[in-house]
């Protein structure tokens, strides 16, 4: 069970363990340590740790990290005549994304990128606005009811997005009351459905991503310290001031998470604009799908994917900085 203290080995664990329990005994000769109540040696412990993570990490490296690296590499390659990849190092794909075509400059792709960011932002704002009162409502229910409400919010979200979007198509089709109402209001022509349109896309996206905003907001609302609100009431603060100074700041962490969780999938969405939108609402997701599908232009598809990743990460970093700043207020 216990190895002799003389036994040594190269170990990934530093001499002073990172956890509270791992300590070295003796002046470097012995490597005995106690970890979670178990007397062991650094060597044994590291071997076991590696044994645990070996297979899952191999899987993640093989099917996640390396493919991501391959995607980056392909983004700098060229498309062959038959859609095959011709390995080279070219910035052509990115030039094309920026609008420098064979003949002249066009902003089509930039429009798509910009529209994607805009649609994701609008979706996020709507989702948060709808979720905020919902989160307060759920948190005000008795505990058993809260779980029921949370389940009610989560259930549609767990239904496949294709089905949910398809349901909206049905609801927005020409013979349904919504389309007729819109026609009566003079918004659309007779005998047309409400899709494809940018509004249909917004509705579909907000309903798809709502739980991403509701759940983190609910978590922070549930943990609200109401004594601060009561203190503010004692001090005759107006309702507005109470909300903005005693409630809102407390929900900032949840709000940040809500925005991040909604924004990321909204940036990469493909199903909703594909089914509820038209050519005018083409988003990055559709563009990527096109390259890997019909156009069979993997290098350009990879380049667009990289652009999407960069945009998402940029948004994340911006939000994190904003989030950190908010906590200092």
């Amino acid at each position: 069970m216990i190895e002799s203290p003389e036994q040594r080995g190269e170990s990934p664990i530093p001499e002073h363990g990172s956890g509270g329990g791992a300590r070295r005994r003796g002046g470097g000769v012995s490597r005995l340590l106690i970890w979670y109540g178990e007397l062991t040696t650094q060597r044994r412990l590291s071997l076991r740790g590696v044994a645990f993570i070996l297979v899952p990490m191999a899987w993640l490296v093989g099917f996640l990290i390396l493919p991501s690296a391959a995607l980056v590499a392909v983004g700098f390659a060229e498309r062959g005549a038959y859609g095959e990849i011709r390995w080279s190092f070219t910035l052509e794909n990115f030039r094309r994304l920026l609008g420098f075509g064979l003949f002249d400059w066009s902003a089509d792709y930039l429009w798509i990128l910009g529209r994607s960011v805009w649609v994701a932002l609008v979706t996020t704002v709507f989702a948060v606005v709808v979720s905020y009162p919902l989160a307060f409502f759920i948190a005000s229910r008795p505990p058993r009811r809260r779980y029921l409400w949370l389940a009610l919010v989560v259930i549609p979200f767990c239904t496949n997005m294709v089905i949910r979007t398809y349901a909206w198509m049905l609801l927005f089709s020409q013979h349904m009351p919504f389309a007729r109402l819109a026609h009566l209001l003079g918004l659309i022509r007779a005998e047309t459905s409400l899709y494809p349109s940018v509004w249909a896309v917004y509705v579909g996206m907000v309903s798809s991503f709502l739980p991403f905003a509701t759940l983190p907001l609910y978590t922070s609302v549930e943990r609200l310290d109401w004594s601060i609100v009561e203190a503010a009431e004692d001090l005759y603060a107006s309702k507005r001031r109470i909300f903005f100074q005693a409630i809102l700041p407390q929900t900032f962490p949840g709000l940040t998470v809500a925005v991040i969780l909604t924004f990321i999938p909204a940036m990469g969405v493909f199903v909703v604009p594909d089914m509820l939108g038209g050519a005018k609402t083409m988003l990055v997701g559709n563009l990527i799908q096109q390259q890997f599908g019909a156009s069979r232009d993997w290098p350009f598809g990879a380049a667009v994917s990289l652009a999407l990743m960069v945009l998402t990460l940029a948004g994340l970093f911006w939000l994190r900085r904003r989030g950190e700043g908010a906590e200092w207020v």
Binding site: R23, R25, I34, G37, E38, L39
Partner: protein, 395 residues
Amino acid sequence: MDRPSAESASPAADRLRKGFASGLRFLKSFPADHNLRPATADSIVAGMATFAETRSALCVEGVCKSFGEVQVLTDIGFEVSSGEFVTLLGPSGCGKTTLLRILAGLELADRGRVMLDGREMTGIPANRRPVNTVFQNYALFPHLSVRENIAFGLRSRRFSESAVAERVGVALQILQMESLVGRYPHQLSGGQKQRVALARALVNEPELLLLDEPMSALDAKLRAEVQIELRRLQRRLGKTFILVTHDQDEAMTVSDRVLVMSDGRIVQSGTPAEVYERPVSRFVAEFLGSANLISGSRVNGHVETIHGPLSVSGSPGWSRGTLAIRPERIRVCSRRPGMNGVSARVREVIYRGDHMDLFVEPGALRVRTAPRADLRAGATIWLALEPEYLVPLSD
């Protein structure tokens, strides 16, 4: 051991006594072919019969421990006799819990060694040490019933089902928990959890029981009761107990010996009376109860202070230093006492029901006395600071 005892005045103690008696009968009736490890079963019965015999059960030598740059324990050394109840007393962060964890095998000392019954413990993992622990928050297994929690240590050593049932039964009886067996930890009160934790440790008949602030989660009234019960339990079982606490009352109540710790060192060791009445330093004097500290300088056999010259029994080892005297050791006299008399004016009187606290001038002395109607603020009184209670401190 089974003699009727004056302590068993309360029905609880009586039940305890009966429970123990039957437990002991049961233990003595152990057939030899029980799958107990011989070291455990035999030594327990033997140990119980001869608990009064004093031999060093635990010996700690030169233990040092640091976490990174922070030196938590410095050259800790002490011995504990078999059947002794020792308390490690100190403020939080003094290293007492770390020391306990080293004894339990949950932490490794950087240097020094721990001997249990003459056996070096350093290379022995926690799960092979004949030592059990009552953890601070009890660490009961939430998915196991009270019975299974208590049986855990027996089952992990592959005791037979009947041995487990019998031992658990005895433990339940000793701690009067028969009615709780089917419950789960989340269905127990703080006091009940503590009993389960105690039973879970004791059922293994450890040579050494460690208790890490076992009362800290209990309310004050319950705590006082449990302390006395714990003390009686230890006496009856004759086991070696080491308790960690920051509560000096607790330490006084339960222990045979108190080791006062400060900044990773043992600063004083002795019976509760010794450490209370003869503190060696300001820290000990002030950490255990309240103390009047009087600074002075030694002049020909007595100490010159702002209260005048005071005689001290035994010569202080300094020329300028501090004397300590407990408030309740200062006697209030109506006329000048024969020795070490101090004239004082009562500045403030605080009535506490069973006693009175007086704050007197000059020198801000605090005096504790039986309640008396004639002591009012402004009264002039005589105080006797008797030499035997004036303790010269080392610092």
